[in-house]
Amino acid sequence: MAGKLVDAGENRILNQLFEATALDTTLYLRIYTAPATEPAETAVLADLTEPVATGYAAVALTRDTDWTVTLDEAVCAQKTFTAAGGAWGNCYGYYIATTSDNTGVLMFVEQFSDGPYNIVDTASIKVSPKIKCA
């Protein structure tokens, strides 16, 4: 299942395509432990909570290098998050943002369809982000 572009992401894309905003050469893949329900299209970065335990970090996704575009869908090479030094608890989904912190723009979010995944120390989550431009 593919996730969804959120309102802030749609606005940023239009500004990149039609106005003066530069393209993002790097986006950041991040995991959320809250909310437990699928974030609304109006969500912003501050609405999402990341794991706080040791070993968690956002993963950089490089434009072109990490993505394969077919028709209206862009698929990213699989990325692995591994807990190291403590449990992360329930992880409900992933999101893609323009920054690794909350100063940027939330572009895209996907709630795990078979989640949450309870990530204990040394366990991993593998994510293959898919974005549909439709």
């Binding site: 572009l5 309102d7 749609e10 606005n11 894309i13 239009l14 500004n15 990149q16 395509l17 039609f18 106005e19 003066a20 393209l23 993002d24 299209e41 434009r63 072109d64 993505w67 575009v69 028709l71 209206d72 869908e73 862009a74 974005i131 431009c133 439709a134």
Partner: protein, 131 residues
């Protein structure tokens, strides 16, 4: 009513945002005469474009759009017939080229066709909704 993104346009946008395709510095606005609304799979060459009598695609320059939330709007453009009739115009489209060598980004099919006779015209406010 706003125009819709078409398959080629969606692919182009994905390639610009996440692939290696550079952003388009200009897009081109045109008029077509297809009676039924073209399917989302069509290309520029599938459109029966208005031709002759003063008709030409018009450029839409990046940086000149107004973006509000998920909608991009361009200032009104006027097409004027000169020297003859265009006949029944059924919609407008936005492509990446002045000719049919580029990609069809999107189009809007008019609810009612406009019969354009000599010296008369159509005013279009290009609008694209992303979402």
């Amino acid at each position: 009513m706003a125009g819709s993104l078409y398959d080629e346009g969606e692919n182009r946008i994905a390639n610009i945002l996440l692939g290696a395709t550079p952003v388009d510095g200009a897009l081109y606005l045109g008029l077509y005469k297809n009676v039924t609304e073209p399917a989302e799979t069509v290309s520029l060459s599938d459109l029966t474009e208005v031709s002759g009598y003063g008709y030409a695609r018009q450029s839409l320059i990046r940086g000149s759009w107004v973006i509000t939330a998920d909608t991009a709007v361009y200032a009104k453009k006027t097409f004027l017939a000169s020297g003859g009739d265009w006949g029944s115009v059924t919609g407008y489209f936005i492509g990446t080229s002045i000719d049919d060598s580029g990609k069809l980004i999107g189009l809007e099919h008019f609810e009612t066709a406009y019969s354009v006779v000599d010296t008369k015209g159509i005013k279009i406010t290009p609008t694209l909704v992303f979402g």
